[in-house]
């Protein structure tokens, strides 16, 4: 077995698991408090990813876009609850579930109408290019080439792909575009400038042998954070975004855990989940607590959506919420639905199961790797049949 592959898969699994866990938390909280499988939750996750890329595309820095998108999704979650679910609080559970499917359909297709049916890449977080002279006369005319290049770009500074900064750095030119610039436009601008610069240089010094190389620079997230040298065939390179995603996920989970366990609001939430009438007798505004639950769950899902986009770098589309949504729900059930810690655990477990089954189990069984999702569903069915209370759920001693 290839050890470096295995390590890669484990890193992959844990990252994916963290994302599932973030989504699963929303399912489990909503289920815990109003006993509704919020089918639209996967769509909130999708919306979160879209809000994220749109905000970044509009020039908002990543670290501002993340919380803003979370806030927007929180508002969306509350809106969905108020409009679609609140009128059905006392209605049969089936009615609410069907409504949730309706909301899911609605959001999915709204996203498609608003943002087209094709998948989008995650925006380039650091649209910067390093320009280096090359060719036989690079030594002699390099400096001149770069100055002309800088002038040319400066002239285009106000044009559509807005240039943020042009800097000379030991023999190269560093061009930074404004955040959100799509790389196609940036490269086109660079190419046009190069053509002009080379033409001018050729006119000034006939017969000059010079070229330029434009190299796209990576955002810090895409640079290797550390390299695991396993003494095996090839070392495993871990990019910064992986520890970032892990840290953010853990931070959000800790925040949530503190909120639910320590604050008055969290206690009120747990009280409502246990007994709404009695909670009302304490003076708790039950509807507001439910709205708050939706808000928190939706914000978590939005964070998950952005993390997913960051991790994959692509795949933001109106259908992206469906499968992670289902797997995250499975994770919530696996952990014991209604149990926040269970959802975290379940998410990680299912992430691992999915990646490992894709990589190894299907191979070992001699079946196609497309069965890896079937494994997740199979586990969901088994858990429901054998231990509906989940891994961390407590069997309740009910008395009729």
């Amino acid at each position: 077995m290839d050890l470096s592959l295995l390590v890669n898969q484990i890193i992959n699994a844990l990252t994916l698991g963290g994302i599932y866990a973030l989504i699963a938390v929303g399912y489990t909280m909503v289920y815990g408090i109003i006993k509704l499988i919020n089918f639209a939750h996967g769509e909130i996750y999708m919306m979160g990813a879209f809000f994220g890329i749109l905000l970044i595309g509009a020039g908002m820095p990543f670290f501002l876009a993340l919380p803003t998108s979370m806030l927007l999704c929180a508002a969306l979650g509350v809106l969905v609850d108020t409009v679609a679910y609140r009128p059905l609080r006392r209605a049969p559970r089936l009615a609410a579930l069907i409504t949730a499917i309706g909301v899911s359909l609605f959001l999915q297709n709204l996203a498609m109408l608003l943002w087209s049916a094709s998948e989008r890449p995650f925006p380039n977080l650091y649209p910067a290019y390093r320009i280096r002279p090359a060719g036989a006369d690079a030594q002699r005319y390099g400096e001149e080439l770069l100055s002309r290049y800088a002038q040319e770009l400066d002239r285009r500074r106000e044009g559509p792909p807005r240039i943020k900064a042009i800097r000379r750095e030991n023999g190269t030119l560093l061009v930074e575009f404004r955040l959100g610039t799509n790389s196609f436009e940036a490269i086109r601008t660079l190419r046009q400038s190069r053509r002009a610069v080379l033409a001018a240089l050729e006119a000034a010094h006939p017969g000059v042998q010079i070229e330029t190389q434009e190299e796209s620079l990576d955002h810090f997230f895409n640079r290797p954070a550390f390299v695991l040298d396993l003494g095996d065939v090839r070392p495993v390179e871990v990019r910064w975004k992986v520890p970032f995603i892990w840290a953010t996920t853990i931070l959000l989970m800790l925040l949530l855990e503190t909120l639910v366990q320590r604050t008055k609001m969290g206690k009120a939430m747990r009280a409502c989940a246990l007994d709404k009438d009695t909670a009302a007798l304490m003076g708790i505004d039950v509807n507001r607590i439910i709205a708050l639950t939706f808000a928190i769950g939706s914000a978590m899902a939005a964070a998950a959506g952005i993390m997913f986009g960051l991790y994959r770098g692509s795949g933001i589309g109106y259908r992206m919420g469906f499968q992670p949504g289902v797997i995250a729900f499975a994770a919530a059930v696996l952990g014991g639905i209604g149990n926040v810690r269970g959802a975290m655990l379940g998410g990680v477990v299912l992430g691992v199961v999915q990646v490992i089954s894709t990589a190894y189990i299907t191979d070992w069984l001699g079946i196609s790797s497309s069965y890896s999702f079937a494994f997740a569903f199979g586990i969901l069915i088994l858990v429901i049949l054998l231990r509906p209370t989940g891994l961390l759920g407590r069997p309740s001693a009910e008395r009729a």
């Binding site: 006993k35 499988i37 409009v83 679609a84 009128p87 059905l88 209605a91 049969p92 559970r93 089936l94 009615a95 609410a96 579930l97 069907i98 409504t99 499917i101 309706g102 909301v103 899911s104 359909l105 609605f106 959001l107 999915q108 297709n109 709204l110 498609m112 109408l113 049916a117 469906f322 289902v326 729900f329 499975a330 059930v333 079946i367 196609s368 497309s370 069965y371 999702f373 079937a374 569903f377 199979g378 969901l380 069915i381 429901i384 049949l385 509906p388």
Partner: protein, 387 residues
């Protein structure tokens, strides 16, 4: 004593039958039935006529599937989110079988439909057996997960099912010598062949023969469903839906009656799925996906769960509306057309609105049965107090 009982009983039945006639409703129903009956021959221009025929045919086929779904979701109250599993099992079984050389005998088409239905019913039982104790949400999730597993299987096992692209180009459908659907295949057209109207015009993707066969099957389904409803079985289902505990206390074997419902539901969904496959001349997981289940469910819920006319009306509304939304609308020089996938947007809004404002559906089941004229003989052998 018996005589007074008989008199009061008969008076009661008479009273119950004296309902005010509702002319408008009756007229609308009659008009609807008439339109369905002349489905392929609506008096429209040739281009719209075949389009309308197509929509009617789809609605008729989907109604069969919806009635199948209704026998679980409407009668026993268990939410089934995976009816697509049975429709696709039926469709694949029937089309794979029909391709076999030894399946070429008169009436073989009916045989493959039946086998498709039975195969689906078998899986209905297999899925149902372990889930008998589940209720509500958990049952719904299992049905959903099962359907996804079926879909993944179909997509993966290409040697059997054609994989992601599915099957195309089935042989001509030949029923006792009558050709129901031509086998010719025109370019990338999803529909099979074409059918020339006797008086000019062409219908791509259907024939009058196929339409009436489907209609007859729908009518059979309706008859079966009505007969089941009005029987010991139907009462058991409605009782379970209302209250499982007291249904059991009345001597109803919950497991047995759930299994009946699962098998019946899967059977009709399988037959409908098979018809649908032949109609479109293609079976693939692009057609049989999760949203297939959702839209069928949408029709059932919209019409009114548990009500046979409601389910059919709901299905016609949902699919009719869905197909109409595909049409271009010209107002002056502007061409309006709803994006194909965006039709689901309307389904979403529709589902939410119906659930919020009319949770029982548009045409809910009337709770109190019409009295039947049974020649009641008193001193029934079942009337006994004490042993």
């Amino acid at each position: 004593m018996r005589k007074t009982l008989r008199r009061s009983w008969e008076r009661l039945q008479r009273q119950n039958q004296e309902r005010p006639a509702r002319w408008l409703g009756t007229a609308l129903v009659a008009l609807f039935l008439f339109l369905v009956l002349i489905g392929p021959f609506l008096p429209l221009s040739p281009q719209y006529r075949s389009r309308a025929a197509d929509i009617f045919l789809l609605c008729v086929i989907y109604s069969i599937i919806a009635l199948g779904l209704n026998s679980v979701t409407g009668y026993t109250g268990l939410l089934d989110l995976g009816i697509v599993a049975f429709a696709s099992i039926g469709a694949y079984t029937a089309t794979i079988l029909y391709d076999r050389p030894w399946m070429q005998f008169p009436g073989s088409f009916l045989v493959v439909l039946l086998v498709g239905g039975l195969h689906a019913a078998l899986w209905g039982l297999l899925r149902g057996a372990p889930t008998l104790r589940l209720s509500g949400d958990y049952y719904a999730i299992v049905t959903f997960a099962f359907a996804e597993i079926v879909r993944i299987f179909i997509r993966t096992e290409g040697w059997l099912t054609g994989g992601g692209n599915g099957f195309k180009n089935f042989p001509a459908i030949n029923l006792f010598g009558a050709r129901l659907i031509e086998g010719e295949y025109q370019g990338i057209l999803k529909t099979s062949g074409y059918w020339e109207y006797p008086h000019g015009g062409v219908w791509h993707g259907g024939t009058a023969g196929f339409y009436y066969l489907s209609l007859v099957l729908l009518i059979l389904t309706v008859v079966v469903m009505y007969r089941l409803e009005d029987s010991r079985t139907g009462r058991a289902w409605f009782a379970m839906k209302a209250d499982e505990t007291s249904a059991a206390a009345c001597g109803i074997n919950l497991s047995a009656y759930k299994l009946y419902a699962f098998a019946i539901s899967a059977f009709f969904a399988g037959v409908g799925g098979a018809l649908l496959g032949f109609k479109m001349n293609v079976v693939s997981t692009n057609v049989f996906d999760f949203w297939f289940s959702v839209v069928v469910l949408c029709g059932v819920v919209l019409g009114g769960m548990g009500s046979i006319p409601g389910v059919i009306a709901g299905t016609f509304i949902v699919y009719g509306l869905g197909e109409l939304l595909r049409e271009q609308v010209r107002i002056g020089g502007i061409v309006l057309q709803v994006d194909d996938r965006a039709r689901f947007l309307f389904f979403g809004i529709l589902l939410v609105l119906v659930m919020v404002f009319r949770p029982q559906g548009l045409f809910p089941r009337r709770p109190v049965e019409e009295s039947k004229k049974l020649a009641v003989e008193y001193d029934s052998p079942l009337y006994r107090l004490g042993r």
